[in-house]
Amino acid sequence: MINVEAVYWLIGILFVAWASLIAADTNHPRRWGSSAFWGLLGLCFFYSTWVQAGTAPGWILGVAVLVLVVLASTGLLGHGKHRTSTGPERESYAKRFGNKLFIPALTLPLVTVILVLAAPVLNIGGAPLLDPKNTTLVALAIGAVAAVVVALLILKPKNPATPIFESRRILESIGWAALLPQMLTTLGILFTKAGVGTAVGTLASGLLPKGSLIAGVLVYCIGMFLFTVLMGNGFAAFPIMTAAIGWPVLVQTFHGDPAIIFAIGMLAGFCGTLCTPMAANFNLVPSALLEMKNKYGVITAQVGTAIPLLAVNIALMYFLAFH
């Protein structure tokens, strides 16, 4: 059986490989800090296997995570210069390969979906081939590997390690933000443990007429919207509103389908992202990039979509999630 831990080890190996490339790059302006950050992150992926299994102490990993935050936020992490293909080279490649360039890209979702759908019948000696608890993740990792193989076969780069070199370029341009989703999830878990959701739930139950499903749906979706506007980020709003309303009211009291409620709840939050200057990289950076007079011009263009779409999400949740 291909276990999900194998997927995390693959990611750990990638991080360590990128860290070694950076360590070997004498022109890198933040060579050691960057290499240490990505290398340590990779090691955390391996070590987590035992934390998850309960056979290694979690606090060691906690210390490592705080070290990562310090490395990332004190300017020790930086961007290297990468030798990649030049503009004219890319144009001539694009002419040569044309739409074939999309084949590897499409291989990834195709393989993933096929494996997920076929997983129930993929058995070896009665044991499932893919970890049944994390089928999608395992299928996705296999899809990613298959896509690289297809890309190598179609594009035939001189150096077969091109995918690793080139992905380092993308990784470094993402920078510390690569760690942010995991930190936001951890924050959500901490918030829940500390009772933030319960506190918001207590506040909301004052507003909420008891036994009204539509009121619950409205408070959850609009709450996701407002918290996202305040925090600039649906990821941070989700654990709070879910602990406050989504789980106790919509799932436990009204027996809604959790997959539908949570998927649509997050999308209600995204409507908030369209309306807030707090989501600077989506709404303020582009107005600067486009040299706009009105720096809120992007938000102005988006509000007219965000509000009706929030209403659509509320209706979808109300009509689809409760049977």
Binding site: F45, S167, W176, V196
Partner: protein, 237 residues
């Protein structure tokens, strides 16, 4: 109720533009302390939180293939595809881009688009070019409006396209969080499927607004001609 200070810290931290990693870490520590956890428990929570949320970071497994196809000119080829839309009005150029952005994001190709990669060098110039063909001159007010909508088409496309793809952070955040907290067992694919109705609604709503954009620009241009006749008269001499 005291734990709500943590939420306040996140808001203030983001508002004064501190590094989000610091904001999140400090808010987490403060909230945990207010919630009665001791330092050892907090460190432990950071560790177990990290370990149980690794699935969110699976997007890095996709980077090697994106890296190699970008090396061989993926973005240039995407430009060629979008370029075929060039003989249209501003609103229709943007609908075309919205569709391309949503579909590519839905199959995991988020980095095909973006404000720096495509909106500034490609989408806005094409939309403005279309307006220039139509009006012969693009007043600033119209240009501003096209800029706002160019960036907006990118945001709407990526937000409501990417959730249809299973490896995106928000889907994995949902599964990680609810699986860890409520001991549920949600498959990312289930969530991605339920993102499809909203994706379609987003395309319809935003597409409709972009269709109307052309009419609004026509109207604004007529108003501009009425209020600023001197300039055109001056040029005519």
């Amino acid at each position: 109720m005291l734990v709500l200070i943590g939420v306040l810290l996140v808001i203030v931290g983001f508002a004064i533009r501190l590094n989000p990693l610091i904001v999140v870490t400090v808010a987490g520590i403060v909230t945990a302390l207010l919630g009665g956890m001791n330092p050892a428990q907090i460190l432990d929570s950071f560790g177990t939180g990290f370990a149980s949320s690794r699935s969110v970071t699976i997007f890095v497994a996709v980077l090697p293939v994106v890296g190699i196809i970008e090396f061989f000119g993926l973005q240039e080829q995407a430009k060629v595809l979008i370029g075929r839309l060039a003989k249209l009005t501003a609103g229709r150029v943007l609908i075309g881009y919205l569709a391309v952005r949503q579909i590519t994001a839905a199959v995991g190709l988020n980095s095909i688009g973006g404000h720096a990669q495509t909106v500034r060098p490609l989408v806005f110039p094409m939309a403005e070019g279309a307006a220039l063909r139509r009006y012969g001159h693009v007043p600033e007010k119209i240009s501003e409006k096209i800029k706002g909508h160019s960036a907006g088409a990118d945001n709407v496309g990526v937000f409501f396209g990417e959730d249809v793809f299973v490896a995106v952070g928000s889907i994995l955040l949902i599964t990680t969080f609810v699986d860890t907290t409520y001991h549920l067992h949600l498959e990312p694919l289930q969530l991605a499927l339920w993102a499809i109705p909203t994706a379609i609604a987003a395309f319809l709503i935003h597409g409709f607004r972009l269709l109307r954009l052309d009419k609004q620009l026509d109207k604004e241009y007529r108003e501009y001609e009425l209020t600023a006749p001197k300039e055109t008269a001056g040029e005519a001499k």
